[in-house]
C-alpha cells in the first residue's frame, strides 16, 4: 500500500511540474523560444510573494492575486525589452539572452535574499490531509496544486483554440510573415503571449513556494523537471505535458520509495529512456499549442 501511496503522491506532484511547464510550452509554441530563465522567473514570483506575505500578513493564496498580474507585467516588458529584439537578431540570440537573464535574476535574488531557504506558511492547510486508508492519505495542498495545474492547462487549451488572441497566437506561430498583413503586430502578440506565460509562472512559483522550502537556485532545478515533463509528454501537447509530469512525478516518488537519494536520479533515467526509445513522447502532437 505504501507503493500505491507513492504513486498517488507522484501523480499530484506531476500536476505541479505541468503547471510550471505550461508557460514553457506556450512560449515555445508561439515564438519557438525555449525560455531558459523560466525557473529563475518562478523564483522571482516566489520572492515577490514572500515580500507581500511578510509585508501585509495576508495568506499566500491572496498574495497570488497580486503576484500573477505582476509577473504578467514583467513578461510583457521582458518581451518588448529583450526577446523581441533577440528574435530580430535571430539564431541563438533568444536562447543566449534567456540564459543570461536566468543567471542575472538568480544572482540578484541571492544578493537580496541570500541563498538561505525560505518558505511561505499556509497554516493548518499545509498539514491538512484526507485519510483514505491506514497507509494512504492525500494532502489537501498537493491536491489543490494538482487541480490548479489541470485548470490552467485546460484554460490555456480553450483560450488558444477559441479566443481571438489565441487565434492570433497560433497564426503568429504558423506564419509570422503573413500575420502582419492581416493588421496584427507580431511583437504585440508575442508580448501578450509572454505575459500569459509568465502569469502561469507566477502561479507555479507561488505553489512551489507554499509546497516547501525554496531558495534562488531552486527554480532552475525545477525547470529541469518541467522540461522533462514536456519531453516525456511530447512536444506541442499541453495534455501530454500533464501526462509527462505525472509520469515523472511517479518515477521520482517510486525511486524515493526504494532509497530517498534515488528519487531525482530515477526520474532523470526515465526521461533519458523516453528520449532513447520514444523520442516523440507519450502523446505527441495530440493537440498543438
Amino acid at each position: 500500500m505504501q507503493w500505491l501511496n507513492a504513486i498517488i503522491q507522484g501523480v499530484l506532484l506531476g500536476g505541479l511540474y505541468a503547471l510550471l511547464a505550461a508557460g514553457l510550452s506556450l512560449m515555445f509554441g508561439v515564438m519557438r523560444i525555449v525560455n531558459l530563465a523560466h525557473g529563475a522567473l518562478a523564483m522571482l514570483a516566489a520572492y515577490i510573494g514572500l515580500v507581500i506575505v511578510q509585508g501585509t500578513g495576508v495568506s499566500p493564496f491572496l498574495a497570488m492575486v497580486a503576484v500573477v498580474p505582476i509577473m504578467a507585467g514583467v513578461g510583457y516588458l521582458l518581451q518588448w525589452g529583450v526577446f523581441n529584439r533577440a528574435l530580430r537578431v535571430g539564431g541563438l540570440a533568444p536562447l543566449l539572452a534567456a540564459f543570461g537573464l536566468a543567471v542575472v535574476l538568480t544572482q540578484l535574488l541571492q544578493l537580496k535574499f541570500t541563498s538561505d531557504s525560505q518558505s511561505l506558511q499556509t497554516g493548518s492547510l499545509s498539514i491538512a490531509s484526507i485519510q483514505i486508508s491506514d497507509d494512504i492519505s492525500i494532502g489537501v495542498l498537493p491536491l489543490i496544486t494538482f487541480g490548479v495545474g489541470v485548470v490552467v492547462i485546460a484554460a490555456l487549451q480553450v483560450f488558444i483554440s477559441k479566443a481571438p488572441l489565441g487565434r492570433a497566437m497560433r497564426a503568429a506561430s504558423d506564419d509570422p510573415e503573413t500575420v502582419p498583413l492581416m493588421g496584427i503586430d507580431n511583437r504585440q502578440v508575442y508580448a501578450l503571449s509572454t505575459a500569459i506565460a509568465l502569469g502561469t509562472v507566477g502561479l507555479a512559483g507561488m505553489f512551489l513556494a507554499v509546497r516547501g522550502n525554496f531558495d534562488p537556485n531552486y527554480g532552475q532545478a525545477m525547470l529541469i523537471f518541467a522540461f522533462e515533463a514536456v519531453i516525456i509528454g511530447g512536444l506541442g501537447s499541453l495534455w501530454g505535458t500533464l501526462a509527462g509530469g505525472m509520469v515523472l512525478g511517479v518515477a521520482q516518488a517510486l525511486g524515493s520509495q526504494v532509497n530517498p537519494s534515488y528519487g531525482v536520479l530515477v526520474g532523470n533515467l526515465v526521461f533519458l529512456a523516453i528520449l532513447a526509445f520514444r523520442p516523440s513522447g507519450l502523446l505527441p502532437k495530440a493537440v498543438t499549442a
Binding site: F28, R32, I33, V34, N35, L36, V82, R85, A86, V89, G90, G91, L92, A93, L95, L96, A97, A98, F99, G100, L101, V103, V104, Q107, L108, Q110, L111, Q220, L223, I224, F227, E228, V230, I231, L235, S261, V264, L265, N268, L269, F271, L272, L275, A276, P279
Partner: protein
C-alpha cells in the same frame, strides 16, 4: 558582399596581412610562455592555469555553438569526467599523471559518443536543457560510485612526490600544451573540409545536405571533440586544485562561464573565446570584492552584447572581421582591388 564577375586573374586567398602578424604574435607567445615558471611565482602560475582552462572550455563551446549551432548547457559533464578520469587513472590505476591526462581526454570523448545519440534527439533550446539534464545524471551516477569518493569526492595524489614549485610548473606547462592544442585543433577543423561544411550547414542545412555535407556526422564529430576538450579542461582543473568534488566539478557554473566568455568575446570566431576569456578572467579578479555582483555584471554584459553587438568584443576590435589572426575563411582577391568578396565562417544563424 559584392557581386563580382571572376576575372581570369582573380585569386582566392585565405591569409591576410593581419594573419601574418597574428602568426608572428603566436610564435612569440609560444617562445615566451614556456619560460613563465622561471619568471613568476606559484600563485600567478596557478591563475594562468585557470585562465588556460577557461580558454580551452570556451574554445570548445564556441566550436559547438558558434560553428555547429549546438547550444550546450551540459559541457560540465565532460569537465567532471576528465577530472575524475585523471584522478582515478593516476591514483588508483597508477599510471603516470602526464600519461593519464591524454587517457582522460580520450575517455571523455568515448563517453560523449553514445551520449550524442541521446542529445541529438533534441534541437535548439531543448538540446540545451537536454545536455544539462545529462550532465546532472552523470553527476548523480558519479555520486553513487564509492570508488570515486561518492558525494564527498577525491583528492589527487598523483603529484605528491613533487615539490609544490615543481608541481605547479609542470601543471603550467601541461596546460600550455593543452590550450595550444585546443586552439590548433579548432583552427585545423575550421580550415578543413569539415569547416567548410559547417559554414554551409549554417547558411542552409537542407541545401548543404543535398550537396553531400553529412550534417549529423559532422555535428557528432564536433560534439565528441568538444567533449574531449572539456575533458582536458577538467583534467587541468583537477591537476591545479588537487581536489575533485562532484558538486563543484559538475557545476552548471562552468556552462555559465563558457557561454558568457564566448558571447562577450565574439561567437563564431577563434579569436573571440580567447579575448573573452582574458576579459572574463580580468573582470573576475577585478570584481572579486563585489562577490556575486560580478556574475550579475557579466550576465548583463552578455545580454547587451547578444542584443546589440552579436559579433562580440572581437568583432569590435577586428573591424567586423577585417583583421583575422586565424584565417579560416576564403577571400576572393580580384584584379581590381575595389571588389572584395568574403566568405567567412561567422556565428551560426539558425538553430539546431
Amino acid at each position: 558582399m559584392t557581386q563580382a564577375v571572376v576575372h581570369p586573374h582573380a585569386k582566392v586567398k585565405r591569409a591576410t596581412k593581419s594573419s601574418w602578424v597574428g602568426l608572428a604574435v603566436i610564435v612569440v607567445l609560444l617562445l615566451v610562455a614556456p619560460a613563465v615558471p622561471y619568471l613568476v611565482d606559484k600563485g600567478t602560475q596557478g591563475s594562468l592555469v585557470t585562465l588556460f582552462s577557461l580558454i580551452v572550455m570556451a574554445t570548445m563551446w564556441n566550436l559547438l555553438a558558434g560553428y555547429g549551432g549546438m547550444l550546450s548547457v551540459g559541457q560540465q559533464a565532460y569537465i567532471g569526467i576528465g577530472a575524475y578520469a585523471l584522478v582515478y587513472i593516476a591514483d588508483t590505476v597508477g599510471i603516470d599523471p602526464f600519461m593519464a591526462v591524454p587517457i582522460a581526454v580520450v575517455i571523455a570523448g568515448l563517453i560523449s559518443f553514445p551520449i550524442s545519440f541521446l542529445a541529438f534527439r533534441l534541437t535548439g533550446g531543448y538540446f540545451a536543457i537536454g545536455t544539462w539534464v545529462i550532465a546532472v545524471v552523470v553527476m548523480e551516477i558519479v555520486q553513487q560510485v564509492p570508488a570515486l569518493g561518492g558525494g564527498i569526492g577525491v583528492t589527487f595524489n598523483g603529484f605528491s612526490d613533487l615539490t609544490p614549485g615543481r608541481r605547479i610548473a609542470y601543471v603550467y606547462w601541461l596546460s600550455l600544451v593543452g590550450v595550444a592544442l585546443a586552439v590548433a585543433v579548432t583552427y585545423w577543423i575550421m580550415r578543413s573540409r569539415l569547416g567548410l561544411g559547417f559554414t554551409a550547414i549554417r547558411d542552409d542545412a537542407t541545401a548543404a545536405a543535398s550537396l553531400g555535407v553529412r550534417v549529423t556526422r559532422s555535428k557528432r564529430f564536433v560534439f565528441v571533440v568538444a567533449a574531449m576538450g572539456c575533458g582536458l579542461a577538467g583534467a587541468m582543473i583537477a591537476a591545479n586544485t588537487l581536489r575533485v568534488q562532484p558538486d563543484s566539478i559538475f557545476s552548471v557554473n562552468y556552462a555559465v562561464f563558457m557561454i558568457f566568455i564566448v558571447v562577450i568575446g565574439g561567437i563564431g570566431t577563434i579569436e573571440g573565446p580567447i579575448v573573452g576569456a582574458v576579459v572574463f578572467f580580468a573582470l573576475q579578479q577585478w570584481l572579486s570584492d563585489l562577490g556575486a555582483w560580478y556574475l550579475v555584471i557579466l550576465g548583463l554584459l552578455a545580454i547587451v552584447i547578444t542584443l546589440f553587438l552579436p559579433r562580440g568584443l572581437w568583432g569590435l576590435l577586428s573591424g567586423n572581421g577585417r583583421i583575422r589572426l586565424f584565417p579560416v575563411g576564403y577571400r576572393l582577391v580580384p584584379p581590381v582591388a575595389i571588389l572584395d568578396v568574403t566568405h567567412e565562417p561567422a556565428p551560426a544563424t539558425s538553430e539546431g
